[in-house]
């Protein structure tokens, strides 16, 4: 057991740190052109799509260097490495694994160069957690698919250029997971209508998306017809290392401790209150557990052992932490905690935004089903 990286890996960490100290000014000293320049610089370094094959424009970055890159970026509070989170997290990897050569050439460079953003058309009004039951219909008509149906809770749809869309091309299969087909759809396709939905924090990041005789060319199909479920599953499995998230959570915890140091409760410093101290320590302990879980799973990957569904463990831990930490901060501030105009309103705002993290990508109860069935071998329901 050791926690050391090899000299080569440490040299890579030094490279990342030096880059960050030269190219990441403090938040309030960043010029308007900063983000565009940042994206160009990290792209030039090969850090966008770092783990992707060199053949498609990635860097073939290994698991250890991926972890180092994510950790250093998160420690420095750096902006994302690209404008399309979903493009980098699963659309790109899905195209690399299932796409034709033509699709790779057509889609991957734009994702790497932050020229397009993607959204993900999975959930439907009647099919969220039960994703494989989707009903949005795609019919083959000549050289295109004609799509009719509705998606909902589509994050990023109001400003995305493209959507990775799950449709049903066969309604008569024995198993619902068959008959699903994955299409890559330009959002400006005639017959695609986006209606933003306001969330409880007042943001309009997600939307309903309606398809009325929308025509999608056959060359935009990802993978085989009827095999779209496999594309979905393997694409989602690409999101694995949680090391960057742990670093973010640690930063949030330090902010929370600072809030405790500055707060009073019952006329005394909050930091003297045994229950406050215990709660902070529980958060810190859970974040440490996420960190060491992540390092154990990383070690398995480094040894070439495939991960099962262990990533659900950290997803569940993070889900409860996100809600509890915000809630604790709001409660600690008493009557000020629920106000949105104060200096510390970030806690109030984020206490209304947790569903982005907690529900997106599978609700906690779905993660529990995954652990119960795939790891503990309990019967499916």
């Amino acid at each position: 057991m050791d926690f050391d990286f090899t000299p080569d890996e440490e040299a890579f960490r030094t490279e990342v740190r030096e880059f960050l100290s030269e190219n990441l000014p403090p938040r309030n000293e960043r010029p308007g052109s900063f983000l565009r320049e940042w994206l160009e610089k990290v792209r030039a370094r090969g850090w966008v799509g770092f783990s992707w094959p060199k053949a498609v424009g990635g860097s073939d970055g290994d698991v250890a260097r991926q972890a180092i890159l994510k950790e250093e970026m998160a420690l420095a509070g750096a902006p994302p490495l690209g404008t399309s989170f979903m493009g980098l997290a699963w659309v790109g990897p899905g195209i690399i694994q299932y796409g034709t050569e033509e699709q790779k050439t057509r889609f991957i460079p734009d994702i790497l160069d932050s020229k397009v953003t993607w959204c993900t058309g999975y959930s439907e009004p009647n099919h969220g957690s039960d994703l494989a039951a989707i009903q949005t219909k795609a019919e083959r008509v000549g050289d295109h698919y004609r799509v009719n149906g509705q998606k909902i809770w589509t994050t990023g749809a109001p400003y995305a250029d493209w959507m990775i869309l799950l449709t049903r091309t066969d309604f008569n299969t024995e198993v619902k997971h068959d008959g699903i087909t994955c299409l890559l759809v330009p959002m400006k396709t005639p017959g695609v209508e986006v209606r933003p939905i306001e969330n409880m924090a007042g943001d309009r990041h997600f939307a309903e998306v309606f398809f009325t005789d929308a025509e999608v060319p056959i060359e935009n199909r990802l993978g085989e017809e009827g095999r779209g479920w496999a594309v979905t599953i393997s694409a989602l499995a690409n999101e694995r290392s949680s090391i960057g998230e742990v670093t973010q959570m640690s930063g949030k915890l330090e902010d929370l401790k600072q809030l405790v140091r500055e707060s009073r409760k019952q006329g005394a410093p909050a930091s003297d209150d045994p229950l406050v101290r215990r709660q902070i320590a529980e958060f810190e302990t859970k974040i440490a557990a996420m960190k060491y879980n992540g390092l154990r799973y990383l070690t398995r990957q480094l040894r070439g052992q495939p991960l099962s569904s262990e990533t659900s463990v950290n997803k569940l831990l993070r889900a409860s932490l996100e809600i509890e930490m915000d809630d604790f901060a709001v409660e600690l501030q008493g009557q000020e905690g629920v106000q949105l105009q104060t200096q510390t309103a970030r806690w109030a705002r984020s206490s209304l935004s947790w569903p982005n993290v907690v529900i997106g990508g599978g609700t906690p109860n779905i993660q529990r089903n995954i652990i119960g069935e795939r790891i503990l071998g309990l019967p499916k329901d």
Partner: protein
């Protein structure tokens, strides 16, 4: 980066699993006594587990607490009553704070199995502090040590005392004391009240304890108990998951129902978490002592409460059969209750995490 076990450590684990299956199954532990201990202790001394963390120059295997953790996870899984934790703490204390002469005298005897230690640090039932050690010692010891683990299985005891120079650990021959068994709920963790009546105590029998030494010993104790909790909690999860696959109610195995399935999944999440925290803490004992207090407190705090609930739910999900004496899952519930406060409960350890984290 290598946060996992080596092939040698996995071989050690398999060896312990085989030993538990062959020599110390649940049937054996239900009737475990001093004779069983003597016979089995000889065997595990020959296998090298007793002197695992003792340097080779003193007759041990020269391994680390990470290796010991592998052994304790598996003995914990089997609720094995062999006093490995007491002896590991005696070794850790002698190695850290004992004189060269004390190391030369005691470590080879521990390693070859001829000396077995019982261990008792505090006299107050729920207070982790040097002031919770109240038994006084001068050139003799007279008084009572209230909670000494494994005293009746051991040839010697190592107990916390107050000397004129401050707290110390004292090594005392089993023949010089009177040990009265306590009726502990968890019978796999025997303890005694030990009476001292004018027991002579020479200087060479005292190991001084600075604040940092006591912190180290207590942290090692927390690590050892947590390692046993990891194995024991996994045993509860395995027993209960298997039961949930077989027990049919309303026409289906109960593990199909989310009320059962989700609780079992949450157990898995908790165990993965305190297991990861434990492995890091065990690594700190030898390789990052400066981080040990914080790492041990995180692991013990999380495990104490999580395993307590796992014990309760393990019994509860079995229904009535779970709390019959004949069925094994209840034995783990008792271990959870025993382990919860050993070397500090979650309140103590979380408060320490808060302090060390800058509050």
């Amino acid at each position: 980066m290598n946060f996992g076990f080596t092939e040698e450590q996995e071989m050690l684990r398999n060896q312990v699993v085989r030993f538990i299956d062959d020599e110390c199954s649940i049937d054996v532990i239900r009737t475990f006594d001093r004779d069983t201990n003597q016979a089995l202790w000889k065997k595990i001394a020959e296998l090298g587990w007793v002197g695992l963390t003792i340097p080779e120059r003193f007759g041990g295997s020269g391994l680390k607490w990470v290796d010991l953790t592998v052994v304790l996870e598996e003995t914990g899984r089997g609720l094995c009553p062999l006093p490995l934790t007491s002896n590991a703490l005696a070794c850790a204390s002698i190695l850290r704070s004992g004189s060269i002469a004390q190391q030369q005298e005691w470590l080879p005897k521990i390693a070859n199995g001829s000396v077995i230690f019982g261990f008792g640090l505090y006299d107050e039932p729920n207070w982790i502090d040097k002031d919770a050690i109240t038994l006084e010692a001068s050139d003799h010891i007279t008084g009572t040590k209230t909670f000494v683990s494994d005293a009746l299985l051991a040839t010697h005891v190592m107990v916390g005392v107050q000397t004129k120079n401050g707290p110390a650990l004292s090594i005392v021959d089993g023949e010089a004391i009177n040990s009265i068994a306590l009726d502990v709920m968890d019978r796999t963790k025997p303890a005694a009240q030990v009476q001292f009546d004018q027991v002579p105590a020479t200087n060479d029998r005292f190991i001084p304890l600075t604040d940092a030494d006591l912190d180290y010993v207590n942290s090692c104790g927390a690590v050892a108990v947590t390692a046993e909790m990891v194995g024991a909690a996994e045993a509860v999860l395995a027993l209960t998951s298997n039961y949930a696959k077989e027990r049919i109610q309303f026409g289906h195995p109960i593990g199909k129902y989310q009320g059962v399935k989700h609780r079992l999944a949450d157990m898995f999440v908790d165990i993965e978490s305190f297991k990861s925290l434990l492995y890091y803490a065990a690594w700190c004992v030898d390789d990052a002592t400066g981080d040990l207090s914080q790492a041990a407190s995180r692991a013990k705090a999380h495990a104490s409460d999580a395993f307590a609930q796992i014990g309760i739910d393990g019994v509860g999900l079995h229904g009535a059969i779970g709390f019959t004496a004949e069925y094994d899952v209840q034995l783990y519930l008792k271990r959870a209750k025993w382990a919860r406060t050993m070397f500090g409960d979650s309140d103590f350890h979380y408060n320490r995490v808060a302090t060390l984290g800058g509050l």
